[in-house]
Every structure is written in C-alpha cells, then in structure tokens.
C-alpha cells in the first residue's frame, strides 16, 4: 500500500491511498470513528448553577467540548486495567465563575484542568450565560472513551474516502475535532487495527483437543454431549 499525503494540517488530513482494497480503507475509517480514544467530560458534579440552563443540558454541553488528549497518558475506560479511581483513568476539570453587576457568558476557557496537558481545544465556545450576581461552580471528570460508546469521544468530525479513476486508489479525508492532531488520529487507528489483527492471529492456533484426542470419537461439547 502506498500512502501519499496531499494536505496536512493540525485538524485536516487528505491522503491518497494506493494499492489497497476498499474494505481496508473502510476498516481504517471505522477504526477512526469508533476506536481511537479521546478525552471528554463524562461526569459532572454541580455545586452551584444560577444560569437559566438546566444542569443536564449544561453537562451535555460540557461533554461535547473537545479536550486536548495527551496520547498514552490515560487509560481508556474500557480497558481492564482501568478500575475504580486510579490516577490514569480520569482527570478533573473545574469551573468557578461569578458574574458581577452585568450578565456574564461562561466560555470553555473557564474550564481549568488539574493536568496542564489537558485543556479545551477552543477557548471561546460559549457554554452558558449567568445573570448579574449569578454563580457557576462545578467539577467535571474527563475520561478516555471511544466513539462507539458516545459520539463526544469521536476524534474526527469527518472521516471519509472517495473513489478515483483507478479501482485500487482512494482519497481519504479526515477532519479532526482537535483532541488529537489529524495525523495522530490516523496513526492510532492503524495501531488499533494492527493490534486487533494480532489478537485474531494469536487465537488462530489449533485447539489442543484436536491433537490429544487420538482414538476417541466425536468432539466433546460439554456435559450434554454433541447434541
């Protein structure tokens, strides 16, 4: 397979993939959308909210804000090592703002994380608005999740490919949300696919039963026999 990068920026990647089947290109696309993990707010503790927005709506908006994700620093929440409240499973962000005599718009830049490597990709996303004298005080836990669990964890808002004049060449387009640089999203998707195929390959050894069965008849299906 031959990859030629046509356009590359932090949040956009366009590449020409040559000498591969459409199935493989589609597997990469799906790995990007469903498997590449990113950080997003997953739990919110609201201490004070005097904005006209309900706590639920506010939490939903917080979840959708893309957070810069340091690769490898956190464990995905579906990994077996990620149990309970270990340091590697989540990080905490907080908002503590109060409005003075005039209304105040709360922006994503007001989200402060205890880990300085994690921060909102865009600082000027309006979250809510406070009336004069209003307060917003909350703590949020950001976890590393995958797009197949919730769309807020998708690293890309566009992952697609188009056909070319040649049947074994495709133009792949990827638009990152900013949580990870576009090239990193692509790289991680390939790593994940490789690991998945390795798991498959490792499980392809012949079962021991086959070899030591010898003269016995039939395959043992458990207590009920081979029904």
């Amino acid at each position: 397979m031959d990859v030629k990068i046509l356009k590359l920026s932090d949040d956009y990647l366009e590449a020409r993939l040559e000498g591969c089947s459409e199935a493989l290109v589609n597997a990469i696309r799906r790995a990007i959308l469903e498997e590449v993990p990113t950080l997003a707010v997953h739990e919110v503790f609201i201490f004070e909210n005097s904005s006209p927005m309900f706590d639920e709506v506010l939490s939903n908006r917080l979840g959708l804000i893309p957070l810069r994700t340091p690769p490898g620093k956190y464990l995905p929440m579906d990994s077996p090592e990620c149990l309970g409240s270990s340091e590697k499973c989540f990080t905490t962000l907080s908002i503590d703002v109060s409005a003075g005599d005039s209304p105040l718009t709360v922006y994503s830049k007001h989200l402060v994380c205890r880990d300085e490597d994690v921060y909102p990709v865009y600082g000027n996303i309006p979250i809510t608005k406070l009336p004069p004298g209003g307060k917003l005080r909350l703590e949020a836990l950001a976890r590393l999740g995958r797009g197949k669990m919730h769309a807020k964890w998708q690293p890309a808002s566009l992952a697609t490919y188009s056909f070319t004049d040649s049947p074994d060449a495709f133009v792949f387009r990827l638009e990152s949300t900013g949580s990870l640089p576009s090239i990193e999203v692509f790289r991680q998707a390939l790593d994940i696919l490789r690991d998945k195929f390795k798991t498959l390959l490792d499980s392809l050894t012949l079962p021991e039963v086959e070899e030591k069965r010898g003269g016995e008849e039939g395959v043992d299906f458990g207590e009920e026999g081979g029904r």
């Binding site: 004070e48 005097s50 904005s51 006209p52 927005m53 908006r61 959708l64 804000i65 893309p66 109060s98 409005a99 209304p103 994503s108 990709v121 865009y122 600082g123 000027n124 996303i125 309006p126 979250i127 809510t128 608005k129 406070l130 009336p131 004069p132 004298g133 209003g134 307060k135 769309a151 998708q154 808002s157 566009l158 638009e175 949300t177 900013g178």
Partner: protein
C-alpha cells in the same frame, strides 16, 4: 445558546458563533461569513443560519443571587 457541535456531523462550531453573529450584525452576507469561517457542509451551515438565541430573554427570569451554603442546611 448556540450548539457546541453540528447535530448531524459533529463538527465543533460553538467557537465560531460569536464571530458569525457580530459579522452578520454588521451587515456582512451570511454566505460570505460562513465561507470564510470554513463551514462548508450544509448540515453545519444550517446550524448558523437557523439559530435563534433566546438565553438573554430567559436571563431576566433567573435568580441571580446565589443561594449559598446556608440555604441548603
């Protein structure tokens, strides 16, 4: 408030709202503004042109003074 992401494709658009709003208010053509903000897909464009922000109206009905810790006890 303006949605953080496009409902259909999930592109982050929240950070573009204030610029869009102020430029359209100053008389620019919404089409030109969206083109220059690199909002290319129709799903994201309709988020901007169809949005009505009514949080300022709700703001006058919300209680500004904080309830404080004493209130809860």
């Amino acid at each position: 408030m303006f949605p953080v992401r496009c409902f259909t494709c999930g592109k982050v658009i929240g950070h573009l709202w204030e610029e869009y709003q102020s430029r359209v208010a100053s008389g620019e053509d919404p089409k030109q503004v969206l083109d220059s903000l690199n909002v290319t897909r129709i799903c994201c464009r309709r988020m901007f042109i169809s949005h009505v922000d009514y949080i300022d109206e709700l703001l006058s009905y919300s209680r500004g003074l904080s309830l404080g810790e004493d209130y809860r006890q």
